[in-house]
Symmetry: D2
Subunit: 334 residues, 4 copies
């Protein structure tokens, strides 16, 4: 309550809460009176207590997500992607081209990925781009290329879906659907992938708090799909030396708040090839369940994000990291 709130104003708050079925506990101090509410938090929000006379501030204490919270699901989940496990006892490398361009490029990238120890192949057929003048992806033709390369190389596919009305099409090819950073709060899309019965990789919005990210996952979970992995890919800060700032702390923080596995994307957060290997090592060491990296046989010809794609020499270092570090943390390579 405000320092000049009256007894009547306090009573109005308490009665409103009780009328809504909640409990209100009043703590009176010399300068301030605090009212603690216990009950259904969604209902309390609809009371608009903030607008009541005499109320200085309303602070929420409990978490607003349920299905993805560790509170209600203490064991860490393992998500199975066409036989590949992402979870607490394994470490998984996901690699591939940022964008599918040609069958040859995709096949070469997939082989690079597999040689480096990857268990899953990433590759974009639908690309959300800041500029309408930039390459927007091959669409379903790209999905067919990915499916052929999967048959050839034997790695299940992770690929992005950007529109709710493409979900069925993408799901008919992909083993795991990716929601990109710009779509983390595209709620129609979240609900659509929540209903499709395939694992989902939900990238963090570059401006999203961890709580908002978990709320977005709750949208997917609410439709019955709990096969979700969360992907930290960097947040937007004032620092311009890197494209975004990888929030490495998000890995242990999410593991504490949620039972869902966490993936780190060191390629898109930094936007620089020379950072991918050190950041991949950091992600493994921080406890990430997987990393997802861009590889390209000829980065200087890439139609998208060439500056961050790994080439063969980097991949040897990455292969050593995914081989040597996970066992120190009690994990085996998927």
């Amino acid at each position: 309550m405000a320092s000049d709130a009256t007894g009547e104003q306090l009573d109005a708050v308490v009665e409103t809460v009780r009328a809504a079925g909640g409990s209100a506990f009043v703590s009176r101090g010399v300068h301030r009176t605090i009212v603690g509410l216990v009950g259904d938090i969604e209902q309390f929000q609809s009371l608009n207590l903030q607008t009541f006379a005499g109320v200085a501030d309303v602070v929420r204490i409990s978490t607003p997500y349920k299905l993805v919270s560790r509170d209600n699901h203490p064991a860490t989940s393992t998500v199975n992607v066409a036989g590949v496990e992402i979870g607490p006892s394994t470490f998984t490398l996901i690699a591939g081209p940022c964008a599918v361009e040609t069958p040859e490029q995709t096949l070469a990238a997939a082989r690079m990925a597999k040689n480096a120890g990857a268990a899953l192949l990433r590759g974009g057929a639908y690309k959300p781009r800041t500029s309408p003048y930039a390459f927007q992806g091959l669409g379903e033709k790209g999905l067919r290329i990915l499916a052929e390369v999967r048959d050839e190389v034997g790695l299940p596919i992770v690929t992005e879906v950007v529109d709710a009305h493409d979900v069925d099409t993408v799901a008919s090819y992909a083993d795991m659907l990716q929601i990109g950073t710009r779509n983390m709060q595209n709620f129609g899309l979240l609900q659509a992938v929540g209903s499709i019965g395939k694992p989902v990789m939900l990238k963090r919005g570059m401006n999203a708090t961890i709580e908002e990210w978990l709320m977005a996952a709750e949208y997917v979970a609410q439709r019955g799909n709990l096969d979700i992995v969360l992907c930290e890919r960097g947040i937007r800060t004032f620092e311009t030396a890197t494209r975004n700032t990888l929030d490495i702390s998000a890995v242990p923080v999410v593991h504490q708040l949620s039972h869902l596995p966490v993936v780190v994307d060191p390629s898109h957060s930094g936007g620089r090839r020379d950072l991918v290997v050190p950041l991949s090592r950091a992600a493994i060491a921080a406890g990430a369940d997987a990393v997802i990296v861009d590889v390209h046989p000829h980065p200087e010809q890439a139609l998208c994000d060439g500056p961050q794609a790994l080439v063969d020499e980097d991949l040897e270092q990455l292969a050593a990291a995914v081989r040597d570090l996970p066992p120190l943390l009690g994990r085996r390579l998927s």
Copy 2:
């Protein structure tokens, strides 16, 4: 170029640029050599010069948007919304409830808006919400309420569309379509509203740079729709005293970069009723072409964003501001 770049590396860059039809001008210093490129910037991006050996950094100098740039369209545009002008010689107040809840609430809010000097009615029928457990809007039923209130009160309607596949439905009721902050980079939605032939209000993403916002407008413009107004609604920063930080500088900055009108939303940026009037005054004084505010006959019962809705006493202050300030800046009230 890097300080240890070789002549061969420099030549490779210059030749690649020339082969792509561009020009490369070399400036040699003691420690650094700089190569200036002139030509088609989209094509240069596809060259991935950043990945070339010896290249230290690539810095873009010219703007990546064209249709919405003031460079190619020096006169400021006026957007006509069912007879109401938003542009450089007028000032427009847009007001209404955050969410349409009932016919009575919407009608009462519309009358409050009109009494305060509003020329356009805002109101949400489709609401993107962070939590799947929060009120999501009335959908088409809400649009019908808005249309009835328009007939009764005489104010054209601005309302949000959140999914590309609802664009036709929303456009059949609305006089202006709003793209919300979470959808600023929902490119499919931008393209859909770009094709519909109705004015568009494009809210800035809460994490979007001004350049990205103009690129999003370019997506709409590219489909043939230049009836766009840009709405500044606060950006995400470290400050927690306000929900977001209103970037008031965006008003003159956008006016310098683009010919499109600029609207300010002081309700959603602050999230606090006590800030709406001072921020509205600031917006008018900074040169905004319109402000858009939440009003509600009973904020304490609002299903959405009640804490920021203006009530009657605030509206008197707002009405005085929209009456007195614009003439000082050479504008008349729409």
Copy 3:
């Protein structure tokens, strides 16, 4: 408390608080138990309740500053700077060169300032600069120039002090001491100016929350000096179109939290001359008690921050704004 906290853990918290002389009110819900504390907040912090077993989070509800809080001092303060008032019934223009360079330049800038309606002269003799290779100010020689110009033009002086051990020297010349953004948490300096008996202008740290800014003011106030004006000068965000983002909302927010007057610096926040007049207008309209701007007779020769200094043509617009806008808000020009 955590959802799995035991009764013993709860009792330990309650007993610790009571042993420290506070009161603890327990609110038990189905999933969560909340403990409300009432008493001396500084003492509670030293209890480290966050480290107790079973504690999920500690949230502070009351404000940590006292002397500068409006709670304990409901009337807005007026600060008198050598006869010039900064407070709720006046509007004050402060103008002058970013850095004192020569007697001629300073005199010319002071006359420009006075002609535009300024009541106080700003000018830097000690300049904190990011680069050790940049111009660092004239030091005491600059102070003597300022004093001579004051005698000539009749405007009291505001100037920055950057080191606690220069406070006596600067105070012997200046009418008001300025603490710059980089020194907002230089606590030794804050305490030194708190003891000197001259008014203080405390700029907000470019990364400081409003609460931290008020805490810094509390350091000054605690030494017995309540003649403090707070200066909003932009915060650091992801947006790069402006040097910093002017947090215009800080004006009404600080007025609500504190009794101290608020000044806005539109020159340093934007770093661009073309933004100074629109942002000055916005500041006046938002309720600022003063604005402080850079002027320079020859900006293209300025040794510091030339790109943002106003020249004669801009000053005419600024003079019109400080003449016409404050009366609309019930203020007279100082």
Copy 4:
């Protein structure tokens, strides 16, 4: 140049640059003309080209720091702190209490540190605190306690200095001087520690870009002291789940730009004990030359930052990490 710049305006820029002893190379495009400058960058800044008619923007390409740049010093430096090396072939653990409180607490913390593998003892005698009502440190009495504990336990001391006029005193006890995050741009203090002949640990300002941080190091280096280690301790972002956001990418980025060693502080960045071990592992894996952590024998009684101090059980995990991870990266434990 602006798209409407005239030939005369272009000539004025070119002539001004040449008159200042630089070279100007002109690249003419259809829409834009770009002028590349080569010469002394500090001198160019004093030209204020941004203020010239027809100039659209000025973009700096080369780095503004010299002594700390890797360009001029390709080999990574090793800093020797009383016999303990911090550099590319070692990994160093620095540990101790956030604040020195009593001889017993400091001695116990030092023994915990040494048992965990620490080679240096940290501990604060002078504490910069946001609130004037918080514990401010023991001052010189704290330094004497540190010196006694050093004699007893055998670990050299790192301790913070917050005021230029305490530098001699602190240096007479300490083996390495620490500059804290709030003082990163306290230029008088930087110059004072630059003249004292002891190694310096320079913490990154919580709002500083990497470039500003290197510029601050340049202030120290310019006074003749190149025994500097840079300490990443988290930056301020919108995320509130952690106190600050550890910018793990800063480790490889600084290693690429500068020859100075990099330390990571996982205790202050997160402000949470449960994050210290995972973030320490991440720091080692990302290539940090050292980590600095808070330990306390009784965190629940700590006068400062108790919530983040490690206790015995965490220290066993940390000891394992500093033993097992560095050899995988070609380093031995200092």
